[in-house]
Symmetry: C2
């Protein structure tokens, strides 16, 4: 373990209360804001462990979120407390996997996530070797998290394109690239509000492949796909399940893809 750290530091819990301004039309947290919270807590914990933005920038490298799998039994509601608990599951030369347990106000588990982070050389955005960071002593393992790692998402076809969107000032982050949370909003926004009144997201897998710049235009493609037997076993519900694959394409090249399992109700 790194000097100055104790076993307690290997986990971080952050408590939240969902305000009205943070709710979507159903009065629950939106999947995009939940992702923002997940990234926020991961960032805080990395800072605490001495492997955060300030630490890595000395080596000319930085973390980028590469993949996420999020499975929610229920979404935090307006005016209610919830908490995110995070720890590092494992590391290799290129990636660090971080688990999240999401608990409700009674401390019961209401969701789980696996996030896979890559390090890049900030100058040229190429993959960086993270074995120099000495993360091994910070690894805890899955510790009961059962959401599967995000798998391959097959490509959509040209006739699946449903919308296009041009990135604007408000979509851009401190790295001058499109904010990863805005990718999620842009994908989810192809469904009308009525769809969200009758369907909730039970699982969201997302794969980030390329960064986008302000002014670039993406096409949003989506198609219905079969729910797998494994997903039916994994998601504890009596409600009917449906699934969709979505992708963002810039000049025909995929920049981001998502697999969504919808639960009716």
């Amino acid at each position: 373990m790194k000097s100055g750290l104790t076993a307690k530091d290997l986990r971080l819990t952050h408590k939240y209360m969902l305000t009205a301004a943070e709710c979507d039309a159903r009065g629950t947290i939106s999947p995009a804001l939940m992702t923002e919270r997940i990234i926020e807590v991961a960032t805080q914990h990395a800072n605490l462990l001495g492997i955060g933005y300030a630490d890595l920038s000395q080596h000319g490298i930085g973390w980028v979120l590469s993949r996420m799998a999020l499975c929610m039994q229920r979404w935090p509601r307006f005016n209610r407390n919830f908490a995110l608990h995070t720890w590092i599951e494992d590391v290799n030369r290129l990636y660090s996997t971080r688990c999240m347990r999401i608990t409700g106000e009674d401390g019961d588990t209401i969701g789980e996530a696996r996030t896979i982070w890559a390090a890049i050389n900030t100058a040229d955005r190429t993959p960086a070797d993270i074995s120099i960071l000495g993360l091994d002593s910070l690894v805890i393992g899955a510790d009961g998290i059962s959401v599967p790692r995000p798998g391959r998402i097959p490509p959509c076809s040209a006739e699946d394109v449903r919308a296009s969107y041009t990135w604007r000032y408000s979509d851009i982050d401190i790295n001058r690239h499109v904010n990863s949370v805005r990718y999620i909003e842009t994908m989810l926004d192809i469904w009308p509000l009525e769809h969200y009144d009758t369907h909730r997201i039970a699982q969201l897998d997302i794969i980030y492949q390329h960064e986008c710049l302000c002014g670039q235009t993406v096409a949003v493609a989506a198609r219905d796909v079969a729910v797998t037997t494994h997903e039916i076993q994994q998601i504890p519900t009596s409600a009917p399940l449906q699934a969709s694959d979505v992708e963002l394409l810039r000049d025909g090249k995929r920049v981001c893809a998502a697999h969504i399992v919808w639960k009716e109700g």
Copy 2:
């Protein structure tokens, strides 16, 4: 004063630290997020004073932000602390005016805002009489805040229309109307990123006139206007100032308008 409240409760301070995910491309807080924080702190303080969402909903009424004037000498930067201090300036039968002082990490004032809130009957969205709420004992006055109340913003003309935008799921809040912060993003997004590299907002006045629904389309119109002598006196800078009026129009009818004073640099 209401029972159980002390003089100390008449002001609320909320401290923040600006994370990377909360920064715009220049590494400072965006005007939209600053507005979100202002609304958040106003909401927290109203809850503390017993005039918040839960209290008013018993009377079938709720607060809506009607106008805001925000004047920033400098914007909070990445990884730095800032704080919002709020209190009620005055009330009448239809409106409550709330002041905000924004301080930097040394406690120095870096900005000021005046926000004007109306109460509406939540069933039919008509104006509600807030004199029943007994707010008089909560009033403190301007207490040194000098940013002028937002004034009238003259209409743009048809040839000023620069963009259109259709509201989507991610733009909608718990009231099933477009989030007031998204109005600001949509207005600011007509300028390219390069504009924000060379200009900062010194003053932002915003007037909310009508609510929008998911699926509705707004036109965004903007025109350059003269900086007033009063603004030149009000804004302490040696940098050249410019000004723009912007409006959102739904079927030709104004739903929201802004007056922006830009500072070069």
